[in-house]
Symmetry: D2
Subunit: 377 residues, 4 copies
């Protein structure tokens, strides 16, 4: 048996570059029936640090010349792990160069950029070139299983979704100013970073689109001291929203970087007419399920062979970690490429998320009144 | 040692009448240093059922004549456990008759009624007559302790409060129409019933007033079948709000009667600059505390002698039940009467809660835009 | 409708006397269809403190003369809340005087005393006089439900029971010497106090008798300072046992007063051929259930009307406290008296528990080798 | 900077071979400052399946000739992932051939084999050849941190350890007979498989040796049907023990393959004079800690940079999985090789565990009486 092999270029060697490298290095070991990967080139700006990273992470070469990478026929896939304001131009260039593209979330910093990317992806599809946005939590087995359970009607019609993403890394008001707290570089604060995951999950789990948004944003520590003295924080520390969905559900959203003692608390509760579900990313191998009209919630360790993705991993009770989601994401992406199918979440999905985030900001600026995420500003 | 004894009249023999009777019957046993109670008269409409209740619940007599009760000099305290639309007239009459008054929450069905009651209470105070509204959860030891911890600065400045009150008794869309689902009798749905507790706790725990409200309300099952056929449900099944507080905090609120599998889930999370707190009424003897800059949350069984109210009860680890809150509430009320102090929560507190609930409805009617709870409609 | 009324004498006014008084005072209010109680007399040694207790706890009179109480025809029930070494003589005297007897657990300090009590109860039964031992945790709704579930085969054949009762009030090695730490007054340490509950639950839940016992006991702090200087601790701080049951199950037991941070942790896990159950007394309204071959455990709030005892109490989600078990125990006892049925747990049950506790000590003294609890020493 | 590179041979391609391969493939990426690995050869019996595994798992070659592997100078490390009865001869041969050896736990099936291995390891050490046994849970960050906390005196003197390892894969009494249920091939049942981890943790966490053992073993389903008809199960389904430790602590042990609904429940509770700890492998990123005399337990997500191993992995709140323990184990082993230090746990540690397991069986055969694990049979 032979396996199709894809040459991959990862752009970026920081946190996300490392997580994605890990995925490409391991995908064949866990998904041996799928395509193979050649870790062709790690791309960045500083050759010395790139070389050190490449050696440790398993890359065959490094490059500081993105255009050359796009021109290299040995590169089949471009995987962008760079800051959000670079996504649009780099992704569009790669698609136009005929490379399949994986972009780390959020898709872009603005709706306009996201729209341009979605348009480019549509055009590329006609040439057999694929694009995907990396909302990796879609590959958390518990969340993938939750999505199946909802789709199969196991909790009936979903009425309420209660979603929070709570972290605490800005609680200390003497924490220094960084580029992440400036609107021009970061786009937004907790909204783009945390609410993007939350909104993607609401759309994915419910299979419903957002029709109306009421939003509030707040910056609890409005000034922080940085290298250049005290500076204004121009992004949100926390945000709240109520989303009206086209299937009749209402979702509440709360995201924060000031939630003391919460490290990575993406908490999702779904309440349906015949059941409910509860998930917390800090316990990512568990799903609490109330199915088929049951009276209470079962804590289920999502490590059984019949659970999504688990066949690839370990026996029951042998839990997965956060980074395994990237390996499964890579496997799904590669399989779509090999089979000529559209991978998901698509750039259209990424755009829809961006529209909701922008609508939260617009509503907040309009005293919280309802905003349609599809309307032009 | 002698103890002042108060003659008590409870009005109502249903769920709340029973819970309050239990409190009056037990208060001396648990708070032996406080005043004594004579369970003088149980008041209602049907003499036969009243007599059966009175015999079992420990009342010395029954009455169907509220005016006679108010005229009876043996009655010192009137405790109203009747539906909300009767609170205002009955409480004002009792205060005017010189009786101390305890009213079960919420204070009233409308701001106007609540305002009239607060005015009557102010007038009565000058005559030494006292009034209190029965937000019994203020006497949950874990919540009373939480309030102390916040007041003592143990979690620093509170920035975010995340509060939900989730029940599930309306999940079944074939559940029948009742008076609780009609606006004219019930005033509102989850708002008055559940959000009133939640708003009272936000105000009490944070010691802050609500300046601005964004609200959303929704009825998931708009029609239900009753004795007279299919009828429109005219109250909310669920409500959401964001509250801006005068100390700079933001509180999110979500209440629902459609939260499948949640029986009595009043969940309160506070996030401060130096700690946090977490509470769930379904585990009412526990408080998760992150204090004084600690890195994580300690699950604390709030049953130690130094915890509020616990000296009156059992040794460590011997947990309290829901109904014990009423006994402690009665003890607090009696001690205030004996000492000539104003009991709390006052009718002013009850009015402030009512104003926030009304503001949520007004905001919801105005597309979610910000509303000032103090503004005249 | 008239109700049979029983005159009750409680002996003892300390912790247990107070808990039992509470039960007699409240039983009619929660179980209105059952018999009525007249709180006739509170019995003890010091008249002044008795009178203060009686006034607060609702007793009509006090007495320091136990023989007079036994001679009083107004007393139908004698409820013994005195130290264990007094149980045997006082209970036997009461039974011989024709009084129904309730004895707080454990039944006695020695097997010989327990045997004499069981014999006396057998003799009394023939005269229509009833006896019960107060293992109040049999009236925890979650545990009563657990027993039903096992009896109904919902977890199949029980194979393993894993039971611990963990407290921490002796962790501090400077805690002072007391009578509870001397064998002559207390009989034993954690064994009699904690393991008695644990063994009673194993027998009740499984419906099986103990055939063989392997035991270990240990005193971690062998000397403590008391009023008379440093003294040897002559009872166990902790004990461990493995019990072979006649239905083929094996139960493990661990009890301790040195389990730092555990306040009242009676934790019971049952593993059967088709399911399992998990309970923790610190969360006494909850039972985790894995029934009928299910794959995982549901956390169930045991507050639904169909759960044992709950019809008498509050609506779903309104949790009970530790002391409610005594009220339900009193109700069960009274109903048995009125209906001429044998209440349970019987003195025979109390004796069986005592035999297992003694067997643990004998096994521990014999290097841990297996001991038959029924064998004569 | 150059890194010493070690050629590795893994023997075995099943569950453990796959887990260990994963570790060797990833160690440089997560521990870039340590030595490098060349995945030289995957060793087994069937060339075809070996080649398929090797391609997916990243091995450069395969071999079915273990002697040739031992003779190959490109092999520095031999990693044995074969059944327990093969450990002794293969490990001793490798050590004699001058290869560093890692052996998957348990060290061997019998004390005699383990003793021979420990002797061989001692002899090899003099030639600079290293040996380690793969109790991978020593590299669970929460357990490594727990060990530090105990060693640093943060919970005072440990008095009680309460350890269980509960799985449920044999609950179904129609599950078929396998080699794992025959004494001649498996050595023992839950004892060798599960109790070996538990005993290793007790020794590691407490830093104490086992002086005395009381044990019980049981086979709940004594006959199962296999390919050759119904056969007797000759290993234990569950085992219980009480261990006396040389520092004065007492540890209780319970292991089972019949614990319905428990998938991988290695639960460890430590109770000390000034605190306690609680761990459950099903939530392996968490440790509940009660430190320095605190009153209650803090649930701590063990994902902070200051926690053991975490510097190598992801930011706070980004949880690790079961398999990451093998990567950290490989990193520790390699670093010891490079620095000429003895890796731990040593074969002596593995022998000590084996002696305790054997003592449990001997005690069980002697009616549960105390056995010294060091005594010759």
């Amino acid at each position: 048996m032979t396996h199709r092999t894809y040459g991959v270029a990862v752009v970026g060697r920081a946190f996300m570059g490392r997580a994605h490298s890990n995925a490409w290095r391991n995908v064949a070991a866990f998904y041996p029936d799928g395509p193979r990967v050649r870790q062709h080139v790690l791309v960045g700006r500083d050759r010395t640090s790139l070389e050190a990273s490449a050696e440790a992470l398993g890359w065959q070469s490094v490059s500081t010349d993105y255009e050359a990478v796009l021109a290299d026929p040995a590169v089949d896939v471009v995987d962008l792990c760079v800051p959000g304001h670079l996504h649009s131009s780099m992704a569009i260039a790669a698609l136009e160069a005929g490379k399949h593209v994986l972009v780390e979330k959020p898709l872009a910093n603005t709706v306009a950029e996201a729209q341009a990317m979605a348009d480019a992806a549509t055009a590329a599809t006609e040439r057999g070139v694929r694009a995907m946005v990396g909302f990796n939590y879609r590959r958390v087995p518990a969340l993938a299983w939750a999505r199946q359970l909802v789709a199969d009607g196991r909790i009936g019609t979903v009425r309420q979704a209660r979603v929070a993403y709570l972290q605490d890394w800005l609680v200390d008001d003497t924490a220094p100013m960084t580029w992440r707290l400036r609107k021009e570089s970061a786009g937004s604060g907790a909204l783009g970073d945390l609410a993007s995951h939350a909104v993607d999950q609401v759309r994915a789990l419910l299979g419903q689109e957002v029709l109306g948004v009421n939003g509030t944003v707040h910056t609890f520590v409005p000034r922080r001291e940085g290298a250049d003295g005290v500076e204004e924080v121009t992004v949100d520390d926390a945000a709240w929203a109520t989303l009206q969905l086209d299937g009749g559900a209402v979702a509440s959203l709360e995201v924060s970087r000031m939630a003391t003692g919460r490290k990575n608390g993406l908490v999702i509760e779904l309440y349906g007419s015949h059941g409910g579900l509860r998930f917390d990313l800090e316990a990512l191998n568990e799903l609490e399920v109330c199915l088929d009209g049951a009276a209470s919630y079962s804590r289920t360790l999502v490590t059984e062979p019949e659970h999504p993705y688990l066949e690839a991993w370990w026996p029951p009770g042998h839990v997965l970690g956060w980074d395994h989601t990237f390996t499964s994401q890579a496997a799904d992406f590669l399989r779509c490429l090999a089979e000529g199918r559209a991978p998901e979440p698509s750039f259209e999905d990424g755009l829809a998320v961006q529209q909701v985030l922008a609508a939260i900001e617009r509503s907040a600026a309009a005293s919280g009144a309802t905003v349609d995420p599809k309307e032009t500003r």
